[in-house]
Amino acid sequence: MKVVLQHLTKIFPSRNKKDAGAEVVAVNDFNLEIPDGKLIGLLGPSGCGKSTTLFMISGLQEPTAGKIYFGDDDVTKLAPENRGIGLVFQNYALYPHLTVQQNILFPLQNLKGEKRLSKEEMLARTEQVAKLVQIDEYMNRKPSELSGGQQQRVAIARALVKMPRVLLLDEPLSNLDARLRLQTREEIRRIQRDTGITTIFVTHDQEEAMSISDFIVVMKLGVIMQTGKPQWVYDDPANLFVAKFLGAPPINMFAGMVRGGKLYIGEEAVMDVDGAADQEVYVGIRPEGFILDRAGSLTCKVSGIDVMGRDISVVSTHENSLNPVVRSIISADGIKSITGDTVRFSLKQHKVFLFNKETEARVYFGEQVATHEAMIAEMAAEGQVYAAHEGPLPREADDKDKPAAAKEKKSKRFGKKRAGSQDHADSEEKR
């Protein structure tokens, strides 16, 4: 089922009537077309409106403005149970007093009229879904007797048993430990492939989103920053935020300047940037974009080397770096050529991204222009619409107080567990 979101907006009114300005725009004019049968990751830091978007699609929250279509049906005003969705909550929300089987049966037992199945059909359906998510051995257990990953699968089974048109997952992996996380995300991918149900999932973990999504939507402060295939978004970020948000270890940022077709970091001309106009820029260099080169133009002071087996990570400093350290990942063979306390790098063109200092929008140069256009064309061929945000965000000016209010509101709405995980997300974001 194709899902179309048009001008979707959610404004939470201010709690304090006197201070009408304190309302929170959680989702701001959100436009997105999700092709049938795809797995979409909504990705962004906490407070970016990704969960709100998901809850609006589910019908649990009503949009302030905008429309939601499933296929050709306008479902904006429909109640959640009439939309044909399956929703998996962050903490699963399995009914603790019901067994696994009863939990999965629950949505079927609510069906009325023509849709109602006979008891045998219900049980057969339950069995079938349980097999799909591989929990059919635990049918008579209570949720408390299951591990986190098993509970997760029960929650997915419960969401799938009604054969929803759209499956929604809210931070499906954040309550699992690292090993289970890897396993479960593969599992989600497999289940989605097997069923072919259009699936939207929300996460703040870029690795998670990148690894299983057909395409990702990066959000910030309620606005889409960029959409696209994970690898494309990584290789071709449309703005400073996306470049910084994706990638582990994170991208290295420098203050730089374009003058006469050359890129300067400090006084060093590090690279030719044909086609870029003279301007002050942020220079983003992916850790894998450095080449050890005695004749290289970027000189850094080495402060340490992290050995990671196949690769090594050179930790160094540069006076124009905007991060405390410059982190570069190079092949382990290079370790021999690092002598003394400085190291010189030359740069891979396609791993260097320039962003205008004022607007934070991408400045394309050289071959990047063609690559970018080819990508948009390819996306269009697959029926996807490329969207990217350029220029400053409407809410960025008063960034300081508003997201805090939004967070407070959210944690109030979703109870303790959620608030806890959001704190976790916050700390992750700071890192």
Binding site: S58, G59, L60, A79, P80, E81, N82, I85, G86, L87, F89, N91, A93, Y95, P96, H97, L98, F106, P107, Q109, N110, L111, K142, S144, R158, K162, R413, F414, G415, K417
Partner: protein
């Protein structure tokens, strides 16, 4: 070293507990033991304060000293109908009021939990009976249900507010609690009063339980398409079942100890004018027995304890099967 310090700490703990333990021993444990002792002592005479072989029932002197037996229990049942009346009244009131007050409390708690406007105000309103004196509420109820009726031959000169309302709707006044009132009219008034009195605590407990239920269960149920009714029965009630079990068990215990409500409405005669003891309860029977026969009172108290114990055991057994997680 470690064991030694542990021992010393234990000493300290016992020291801090000592005042409370002494008080409990003097005012709770000893009276309980003594009640059992007295209950099984034959021919206890309160005037002498010991067994002197004076048989209260037959007024015959016998030289039996400190003999244990079940004589007092026989006396309880020999008290004739007054014990059976008390037992019957107690059972009836408990069986009627516990389910009614629990259901009402559940409905009110769910309603209170779902409103936003004036929530705190209504919480306070529903909690008020809890902090009001039970005898005072009883007197108010007596006034509301009672009537001024100088002569049984003539209609009453004035009726209470309940009858006024009944008459306003075209009904005929009911003799709720006055001379010659019927048993079921009395019981209806008592049930109303007891339920009213029991509600606040139950609402408080259930509301507390409701506020601890994760909202996501309701969101999940909504997405799953459950109707309100099904959400109530399949989600709210099971998730609240530990709280419900708690209020039911404490409700039964409180019900078997019912006494003040009857005193509040009917006075110490435990019945409408002209029919004293008609509405007596177990606790009332025990109180009545104390002045003239402590042995009988103690025996009755033990019987009451046994009933409460058995009913609570049944309650626990049922709730173990029905209370989830």
């Amino acid at each position: 070293m470690k064991a030694k310090s542990k021992k010393r700490n234990q000493w300290k703990a016992w020291l801090y507990l000592l005042p409370m333990i002494i008080l409990l021993l003097v005012f709770t444990v000893w009276p309980i033991i003594n009640t059992v002792r007295i209950a099984f002592l034959c021919r206890w005479d309160p005037d002498v304060g010991a067994i002197v072989g004076y048989d209260y029932q037959t007024s015959m002197l016998e030289n039996v000293h400190y003999q244990f037996g079940i004589n007092n229990f026989i006396n309880v049942f020999a008290a004739g109908n007054s014990f059976l009346t008390a037992l019957g009244n107690t059972m009836l009131l408990t069986v009627l009021t516990v389910p009614i007050s629990t259901m009402l409390a559940l409905l009110i708690a769910v309603a209170l939990n779902s409103i936003k406007f004036l929530k705190k105000f209504f919480q306070t309103v529903f909690f008020l009976p809890y902090v009001t004196n039970a005898i005072a509420i009883g007197m108010v109820f007596a006034t509301m249900f009672g009537m001024i009726w100088p002569s049984p031959a003539k209609p009453p000169t004035s009726v209470g507010i309940i009858n006024t309302i009944i008459e306003a709707f075209g009904g005929h006044y009911v003799n709720w609690i006055d001379r010659g009132s019927s048993y079921w009219a009395n019981i209806a008034v008592l049930v109303t009063y007891i339920v009213w009195n029991a509600l606040p605590f139950k609402i408080l407990v259930l509301l507390g339980g409701l506020q601890n239920v994760d909202k996501q269960y309701y969101d999940a149920a909504k997405v799953d398409g459950a109707s309100r009714w099904r959400i109530f029965w399949r989600i709210t009630v099971p998730l609240l079942s530990p709280m419900i079990a708690y209020v039911v068990i404490t409700g039964f215990i409180g019900g078997f100890k019912e006494y003040t409500s009857i005193v509040g409405i009917f006075g110490e005669d435990m019945g409408p004018y002209g029919a004293p003891g008609k509405l007596n309860t177990m606790v009332g029977f025990i109180y009545d027995s104390i002045p003239h026969n402590q042995g009988k009172a103690s025996a009755a108290a033990l019987i009451l304890f046994a009933i409460i114990f058995i009913v609570t055991m049944i309650n626990m057994y049922v709730s173990k099967k029905k209370v989830h997680y």
